[in-house]
Symmetry: C2
Subunit: 258 residues, 2 copies
Amino acid sequence: MPLTRRLEEYIRLSESDRKELARLSAQPTRTIPPRYDLIREGEVPDFVYLVMSGWGCHYRTLEDGRRQIVDFAIPGDFCDLNLFILDRMDHSIGAITRFKVAEIRRDVLHGVVTNCPNITTALWWVELVSKSIHREWIVNVAQRSAQERISHLFCEIFLRLESVGLANGFSCDFPLTQQDIADATGLTPVHVNRTIQELRRQELVVLERQRLTIPDLARLQGVAFFNSEYLHHRRLSRHTDEGRGADEARLSNPPIAV
Amino acid sequence: MPLTRRLEEYIRLSESDRKELARLSAQPTRTIPPRYDLIREGEVPDFVYLVMSGWGCHYRTLEDGRRQIVDFAIPGDFCDLNLFILDRMDHSIGAITRFKVAEIRRDVLHGVVTNCPNITTALWWVELVSKSIHREWIVNVAQRSAQERISHLFCEIFLRLESVGLANGFSCDFPLTQQDIADATGLTPVHVNRTIQELRRQELVVLERQRLTIPDLARLQGVAFFNSEYLHHRRLSRHTDEGRGADEARLSNPPIAV
DNA sequence: CGTTCAGTTGACCATGATCAAGAGTGGTGG
DNA sequence: CCACCACTCTTGATCATGGTCAACTGAACG
């Protein structure tokens, strides 16, 4: 299940943790058709949403219609853990594909969290990692060239999907249109098109029928100036050959219940 | 005191809350000279830092030397609340001016937080607002023109300083060099220079001797497509004439201790 | 009074935007 | 089964915002 895989990037889960998490995934679901919104800027969410399947995106719109995707939401992601604070949404969440989310009531989440301090810690992780991803996106759009930006996006998406078990080998689903990529990277669709053609010509990516293949991840990371630290994935040692010493040390930290 | 003013943007503080907050501000301090780092990418922080005076910045560097400021740290800000999670820093924090921070030990913060659920809620707010600011920065660098970006930065800084009591009337301190502004907006110093000259010519800002004056904030917000919602400042009604109804409703939400 | 650093100016360049038209592709209904 | 429509992708020509390089000014400080 993507959620448990996701949280296992950060902490060890006990059997009872898993049981509690299963309760979250068992909540009633809602399905959003492609290109519709789950929730809009200004609305007050009733639930915390947990992505079960499909892709969504977090985006902001300016008054004159410019639109910027600020993050993607893939299975195992929470959409608005901030429900704890209960305020208006400062951005919207839309569906890219058919998008199925579990609607978790406040009290249910609160129950899980009080039963399992472990899970509280894991949810903090999730929040902080998504903040770290925001930071990396700032760097991405502010400093990188078109080719670097798009390569970086490909690397991030591939590794995030892999981390929840949704990649096989060198490939993963990739339902984004070139317009979506443009909205996420601050480029125009025309330029995204030309840049992707260039990436294809250099055999850095294969992109066809909603499927992304990265024949040589290290090489793509190289051209993107991609440094995976910001994802804080424990299992990344798969890719970096760093060994497991540091990981084990991290996992031994006692969870802090706040 | 900036910290209490800051938290009062989000919640009502009781007398005992204030007393606990005073304990945080009374922790031992450390002073960083201008242009030195408080902490670097990859290091493991021993403390949560609370900014007492001066300005700092959060920044990331790419391997080839490109540098991007991803947020500023001003009095009343916490630098790395994520200490709860204890991992390596994924970015650095540097001093812009002489920069004084209180070093708060884990157990001290933990004590304050367990005594005052109110403050826990407030700290969640602080985290979520800074995440929201990250999102706005993504939009800023990805979608706005040079003039819009810089105007937007001016608006944000002015309102954030005002919210902690560090603006008087139309002015606030502004110790950033044009190089700093360039690093924060993803522009070159040369272009920042020309753009600021243009803003001056249009009498949108006065910028001299480390001091920023905004004669007509509404007008500057207009050219920047600045919408202050993302700052989640309760007291913004001062600027928007929105009245206080919604604010009062928000403040009446019971704080959630997580 | 020289050194340093921020700010300023000019000339030229390049990355990516804009505008416009056409080619594939997939889904829908007659 | 095919015709049509809509949407995404592709291509070309031209333009503009902002980058690069380099030199100069001015203020601050020892």
